[in-house]
Symmetry: C2
Subunit: 361 residues, 2 copies
């Protein structure tokens, strides 16, 4: 069981312990999109890089951006700065970002022959810029906090690939799902294989926890969610490296608007579930029992309010979750670009101040 | 108890009977946005009128558009062609539609003095074009099917008024909700009064059932939903005329993504709840018991699939709801503009063909 090249031990492993429901002194906290547009230092680097994609594809810049929020705030985790659409891009779909319009693909995936021709990318090749960024970030972190790697869920990636970008009604993706479920499954199968090897490559490069973002699972019916989203998450999780450097690599599975399906999500093999703010996290805990930890779930909109109000809402989320480990404090979705960074600080500091009371024995 | 000027009795009262859970021969069916862009005859009239707003504000055109889907399909209800934003427009906010960008307001509502200055519109005055349309539609329907009137929920209207239009993150509305809940309540209170008198005016003009659309209730936390959306729905329903012309006027309350809160919604006094497609309607029925009827819940995305697939999914929804009255078949949200009208027909005909089996005694 000897592992080679073990980097510095972790100074702060609260995230990993909470995801495995091990005892702790306080609740760990990080924020989805913590390296993002709400930070002036991020906006500056992005402008210098020229585009969002240039930031993602340059390991030094991706590393610098990943570390920015950690230099400002006492966060308990770093998350790789990247995008869920790196995989479809590596499949040759030509990702680009139209100003103010979100992601687009030059070559959407619409037909049987489009899908048959899709490669399963070798992460050591066309996604090397990501694993290089992971290695570099791990080195620069020097064991301060764990690094989270991530990928989009196959269903979520498929929506962008079939639609050719963001969508409101998911007309083309749903036309395929309902009209040609066999094709949709072929696409999802290739994506599941790609996500599995991509996440494993992130672990091999140094990611210490993983998160699967199922941003669009919540637009499905319960039956379609099980068939087209959940089962591929389960397949991916079954194929992931379970530990690295002698330490378990926990996996968080997050379906936005997935609240009705938390029980089923807790059976996927994930160590933890992301919970958005439309659920009471105490109810969520009662529903999933001791099967998984929970990550969430402050409404990102709370950060528009003054610091004293933010503190009250942090207190409510901590109180709803209640006593004991198994809670990673986070927003219920990514931090919004309009938020004042000092409001993010108020949230983080409130977790530091208020959470120890829930961990006394 | 004598009522004056009773119009023609209803030839087809299945909608009203289903909403009150009375025995029936088959499940009634209509579609949210059934008078809309998927119909070529609608697109033609809209082009002639010059704009969506011009259609809404001209009672003859609004009547013609309302009747279009009934001339094509064997539907069991007409729904007033209008917009939820007529009320903020009547409050002087200056509604307009920017091409391809959805609704906008010239004068958003942001401050305490903005809110204090807002009038509660007299529906007989600034909303007269709506009640005139209702009267005209009732006359033209000649009792074929019932006419549904509607309004937006106070919270949903407030989001548009505060944001100045559509929104993704609801930054300004949430900043007010969390930062100045007292102001948000003042706004919601005025809107609740306005919606109540507006819906009652629609009933007096001839609306035979009512629907309250809470399109954005699902972006709230459970606690905020109860405080800022649900309680105003309850207040409105308590203030509505309960019957007209000797017949009960049932009320449907619909919160998109409101699945987690169906139990609470069923206690508002509504006769029926709208259910979107992210819920299993059989589970929803078990949860609300005999307190309310249910309306829904085919995924509008199913209508992108071929007719035989549509028929299978209609069969599933009917089977999930199960035996007995209390179900109004509908989509889980408005019909999408890209849908082929013949696919809508396939859905409607499938309900006609397949639902009688669930109503035999």
């Amino acid at each position: 069981m000897a592992e080679s090249a073990v980097p510095a031990p972790l100074d702060n492993d609260r995230l990993l312990r909470a995801l495995l429901r091990e005892p702790l002194d306080r609740t760990p906290v990080w924020m989805m999109r913590q390296a993002g547009r709400y930070l002036p230092e991020y906006r500056k680097l992005r402008q210098q890089a020229g585009s969002f994609l240039a930031l993602c594809q340059n390991p030094e810049l991706a590393c610098a951006v990943t570390l920015q929020p950690l230099e400002r705030f006492p966060l308990d985790a770093a998350i790789l700065f990247s995008d869920i659409l790196t995989i479809p891009h590596a499949m040759g779909r030509g990702l680009y970002f139209a100003a103010g319009e979100g992601p687009r693909f030059e070559r959407p995936v619409r037909t049987e022959s489009d899908i048959r021709a899709l490669p399963v990318p070798d992460p050591g090749d066309s996604l090397r810029y990501v694993t290089d960024a992971v290695s570099l970030i791990r080195r620069e972190l020097c064991g301060r906090v764990p690094l989270i790697g991530f990928a989009g869920s196959p269903w979520t990636l498929a929506t962008y690939m079939v639609e050719g970008g963001s969508s409101k009604n998911f007309a083309l993706a749903k036309a395929m799902l309902y009209g040609r479920p066999d094709l949709m499954h072929q696409l999802l199968e290739k994506l599941a294989q790609s996500v599995t090897s991509y996440l494993n490559a992130q672990v091999e490069a140094g990611a210490q926890a993983l998160m699967i973002f199922d941003t669009w699972g919540g637009v499905l019916t319960p039956a379609a969610y099980r068939e087209f989203s959940l089962r591929y998450a389960e397949q991916i999780i079954a194929g992931l490296l379970k530990s690295r450097g002698g330490r378990r690599v926990p996996v968080v599975f997050f379906t936005k608007n997935g609240g009705p399906w938390l029980e089923a999500m807790s059976e996927t093999g994930a160590d933890a579930l992301g919970v958005d703010w439309t659920q009471d996290i105490g109810d969520a805990r009662r529903r999933v029992g001791a099967r998984v930890a929970l990550q969430g779930n402050l409404d990102p909109g709370v950060l528009y309010a003054p610091p004293d109000v933010i503190r009250e809402h942090v207190a409510s989320v901590l109180e709803e979750y209640g006593h004991g480990s198994g809670h990673v404090f986070n927003l219920g979705h990514g931090i919004h670009p309009e938020v004042d960074p000092e409001h993010a600080r108020a949230m983080i500091e409130a977790v530091h101040t208020l959470s120890p009371g829930y961990h006394t024995t």
